[in-house]
């Protein structure tokens, strides 16, 4: 955008009259900026064994790629060239080349990988192995398993601090958030949270970790330094039974808006939370069993996977309105968005 404006001004500076070159440059820069702002949304469909690709501008599915069985957590490489996919029933992580849309190779992951995160450098994947009570560290370049860290029962969520020093893993059955030092790969603290913790997310400044508890119906906010819970958010939706409110996916804004978004599963709502007061400001209606969330690159939109209704809802974050729900495959689960 900025580039386009600069070029236009540059043209005007030369001459008041529009000339062909100027128009051409403008046209090209419009095309260029249009391309630059375009982004793709990748959605893993757990039951269909596919990845749906949604165009971020038209909000339509432009492609569907068949991959390994039961794809769940998906992560883009730092350069955006490949997509790492936890194909849970294949017991490995598959790597999808986003140019050719072909699975080029797979990475060892340990059995039943579900969620994973890259370290900030983009060289290592931290993978939760639900069935084996392990977190596996995989070197993506050498395609090797570096180490396996034993954790609580049924590990699920993985969060990496922005500085890469901390890895937080949640274990569903032990009801804990394990703080793992990424240098020593040892658990340094276990924080007990409410029943069945799912997703763990660090704030942009790394000072807090937000952990959602699906059955407990809460989100715990843990202070990274003291490893203590400093606040617990609970939810209440008019007309819905409390047990149907099951927080899962978490996205914390880093654009200065200081807002957090929590997917509430069967409640079919996304909660908008003020990160200073921890108050819920609004509930937005999305599809059934909303699971994971992802921001658009400029954080003006939020995408949600709605497992039961089989679609992706698009939220306009400025207007705080759900603007569209896009049909994808059966049981959409993971989300990743290219810049």
């Amino acid at each position: 955008m900025q580039e386009r404006r600069m070029k236009k001004q540059h043209c005007r500076g030369k001459s008041r009259e529009p000339n062909l070159a100027c128009v051409l440059v403008a046209a090209v820069s419009i095309l260029f900026t249009a391309n630059a702002s375009a982004y793709n949304v990748y959605v893993s469909n757990e039951k269909d064994n596919t990845i749906s690709i949604i165009d971020g501008d038209t909000l339509e599915v432009v492609d569907t790629v068949t991959v390994g069985e039961r794809p769940r957590g998906i992560v883009l490489s730092n350069d955006g060239s490949v997509l790492y996919m936890c194909t849970s029933d294949e017991d490995h992580v598959e790597v999808l080349d986003l140019k050719t849309l072909k699975v080029t190779h797979s990475l060892p992951s340990g059995p039943d990988p579900e969620l994973m995160q890259l370290n900030p450098e983009g060289t290592k994947l931290y993978i939760a192995n639900e069935d084996d009570n392990l977190v596996t560290v995989v070197n993506v370049d050498e395609r090797t398993k570096e180490v396996e860290i034993p954790v609580g029962i049924e590990p699920e969520g993985i969060g990496v601090s922005p500085d890469g020093k901390w890895l937080v893993n949640t274990s569903e059955t032990t009801n804990m958030a394990h703080f793992i030092n990424t240098d020593t790969l040892k658990i340094e603290a276990n924080v007990v949270v409410d029943t069945r913790p799912r997703v763990a997310q660090f704030t942009g400044d790394g000072k807090e970790v937000w952990v959602s508890s699906e059955i407990g119906g809460t989100v715990s906010i843990i202070d990274t330094d003291s490893k203590e819970i400093k606040h617990k958010i609970s939810f209440e939706v008019r007309g819905l039974a409390p047990e149907s409110i099951q927080p899962v996916g978490i996205k914390l804004s880093t654009d200065g808006s200081n807002l957090a978004y929590i997917a509430l599963g069967p409640a079919a709502r996304v909660a908008v939370i003020n990160m200073e007061t921890y108050e819920v400001e609004k509930y937005l209606l999305v599809g059934q069993r909303v699971w994971n969330l992802e921001f658009s690159p400029s954080q003006d939109r939020l995408f949600t996977t709605n497992g039961v209704s089989g679609d992706v809802s698009v939220i306009d974050l400025k207007k705080r309105r759900v603007i569209k729900s896009v049909k994808v495959g059966r049981f959409p689960w993971g989300l990743a968005i290219s810049e």
């Binding site: 008019r238 007309g239 819905l240 079919a268 209606l285 999305v286 599809g287 059934q288 209704s309 679609d311 809802s313 698009v314 309105r321 759900v322 603007i323 569209k324 729900s325």
Partner: protein, 269 residues
Amino acid sequence: MNLKHARSCFKGILIRESLRFLNQRARFFAALVRPLVWLFIFAAGFRSVLGVSIIPPYQTYVLYEEYITPGLLGMIMLFNGMQSSLSMVYDREMGSMRLLLVSPLPRWFLLLCKLLSGVAVALLQVYVFLLIAWFWEVRPPVSGYFMVIPALILSGLMLGALGLMLSSFVTQLENFAGVMNFVIFPMFFASSALYPLWRVRDSSELLYWVANLNPFTHAVEFVRFALYSEINWQAGLITLLCTLFFSAVAIWGYDPLRGFLPRKGGPAT
């Protein structure tokens, strides 16, 4: 009929209806409370009912409040249309209806003016309702607030003409309670105002067909799409055809050759 006279006549009727409307604030609030009760109480109770399927014109899941809002606009038009056209005949307005009908203008034009001013009053109610609904987080796009006007006018005319038609033929509908029971309630409930047709079909195929044959369903759908800046041509066309049909029959029904107000046993002589 010259144009100047026609305009003057319409102006006069419109002013009269507006003045009466302003003078009868109780009536206005009653008319407003009805849809609001549905919005605040009924819809709140059924909040979680919807959201399983997305149907046009909606782009995403909507709360029940949002779904029934166009239906409630239809309800305002329905009550208003029935009330104004039946009051033309049965209420104490009967005297003033005679006054109107002996005016030196074609009868169809007088009836049309009357219907249109009834619709104008209903439009006022609709916008007050939409304003309140806005605070209740029912917020269609801004353009929808404008696009819905023609849809509301046409629907209002259709329902008003239907009321006129009924009043000219069904002499048993002597009070409003009868109209509520036999016209307003069936039309409102057997339509897409409260439930989408696919949902109606899930429970009863018969009801689904009845709702499809119900002109009110099409009026509501026409209004629903317009409120989201879309045009449902099919619903619009059906509404238009019904309007023309009801109007033609109503005008025929009020043809002096057939007599004005044919009632049981004839008029007081």
